[in-house]
Symmetry: C2
Subunit: 288 residues, 2 copies
């Protein structure tokens, strides 16, 4: 079994890929080498929401919004699933989301600045039934986090936060620190911050997909640190190229929309974004 | 000058095409004969809103919604531009819409069941500065309406209303009554009602485009009379085929979204629809 096959088996076993049919073949390395293998299949990624989008809405409003948009997956930020309550309450709230029919697959972004915070994050994630933590661990805690991943069998996806960020300004800055680590220690590629760092999201996906466990899907107004989130299709990201890259690498995970604009009323802009992506995907499958 | 060239000159002169660059060539007949002439250009139709969508919202709310979606054109239904007020008030309200930066190009659907109603419709349209009335004239009034079109130089686009309708169930049922009439007497193809009649919207566009002056753009849940409006992309209409037909025939008019679902809160579903169409068009232009 080669490395990619074993990683797929793991991802399936821990449930990061739960509900997805694992592709018969994926690109075999983090390269942009052309391959028609995955490009000939119907492309139907699963989409979710990163609930920072609805940070001014309640959890109930968030659930209703996700369902109205026909999204099926969700990661919760702590304003919707507080970290300062008993773990029993965390479990109950998570169950409420699942009772609504949504795949609550993870949470975050969770910052990890100390071993205490790492411990708390994993206990919280376990109580919530997360398969994945979208995290930002300090560099000196990476070994400690890796041990926790093995103990809890919960994946951690490091989130790139753009050119201002000290720890992980780019996907590559996280990727290089993950070499030889457990395969459950990977990346949440935030394509907005990628573009704000001057990098084409499609290139990050093609280059680093072997560690890609989650995606924050969005568009931004400029390919610089001055860029901010806009409705997908109105910004500068080459969305078709990003989606084609996901198809090309046979991505089997979830892509979660994160729409930071219009915090008081995010649904219309998010709906426009979802529609745009659905339109592009319709054409990708049509053009086969 | 052939018939098509003269029609384009007229359409430009009455302003139905105001703001559009008239294509150097359009398909020369109402046929589906393939032609690469228009298919090689960047496809960038103008989009508007048919305000029946926002029938439970005020005019101010409608203007805000249209601008939020980056739409530029508008046709008003009478709940937003009342017909039972002095014409000076009609003109003032229309000016308010234009002051907001929108192309208020027409109104309707307006039913015309008597000469008195035809007279009223044209006086109202003139006061509002419409270039176009989306209308449903009784068959015996077609000559009278045609005279009015000539006198007022305001176009009338007959709207197909689906299999239940006695007067114009299909586009063809209107088209056949327009033969040899003034070229300003044409069609508003409602692609939802077309599909509800069991006809592919792309086929209606290809077959009847020489009389096409306006479009109601939407999706429906079923290709039968039981179909109702849904978010574009969630229904049964082949939206890429409809847009490709518009490109193929070199349509220079406006396509107005009409989203009848969610009357109390139409923005999210309409936004999803707009996003979907934008995504498809992005791919149409990308694949050139």
């Amino acid at each position: 079994m080669n490395g990619d096959a074993s990683r797929r088996m793991f991802l399936k076993s821990v449930g990061v890929l739960a509900g997805a049919a694992v592709a018969g073949s994926t690109a075999s390395a983090a390269s942009a080498a052309p391959s028609a293998l995955n490009d000939s299949k119907k492309f139907a990624p699963r989409f979710g929401l990163a609930s920072y989008t609805t940070r001014k809405l309640t959890l109930d409003q968030t659930i209703a919004l996700v369902k109205r948009l026909n999204l099926t997956c969700l990661t919760l930020k702590d304003m919707h699933l507080p970290m300062n309550v008993p773990l029993e309450a965390t479990a109950q709230t998570a169950q409420k989301v699942r009772n609504a029919g949504l795949d609550l697959y993870g949470g975050g972004v969770i910052y990890m600045n100390s071993e205490v915070e790492v411990n708390r994050a994993f206990d919280y994630a376990k109580a919530a039934g997360f398969r994945l933590i979208v995290g930002v661990p300090r560099h000196e805690l990476l070994d400690y986090v890796e041990d926790k991943i093995k103990t809890y069998n919960i994946a951690v996806a490091i989130h790139n936060h753009g050119p201002e960020d000290r720890l992980y300004p780019t996907v590559q800055s996280a990727y290089t620190r993950l070499e030889d680590r457990d395969k459950r220690f990977g990346l949440c590629i935030d394509i907005g911050h990628t573009q704000r760092s001057g990098i084409r999201p499609a290139d990050d996906i093609l280059q680093f997909h072997d560690r890609m466990l989650d995606i924050h899907f969005k568009d931004v107004s400029a390919p610089t640190r001055r860029g901010s989130t806009v409705e997908i299709g109105r910004g500068v990201i080459d969305i078709p190229a990003a989606l084609e890259a996901l198809r090309h690498v046979g991505y089997q995970g979830i892509a979660s929309y994160e729409y930071e604009k219009d915090a008081d009323d995010p649904l219309p802009g998010l709906a426009e974004s979802v529609g745009y992506v659905n339109g592009v995907i319709t054409m990708m499958n049509r053009n086969k």
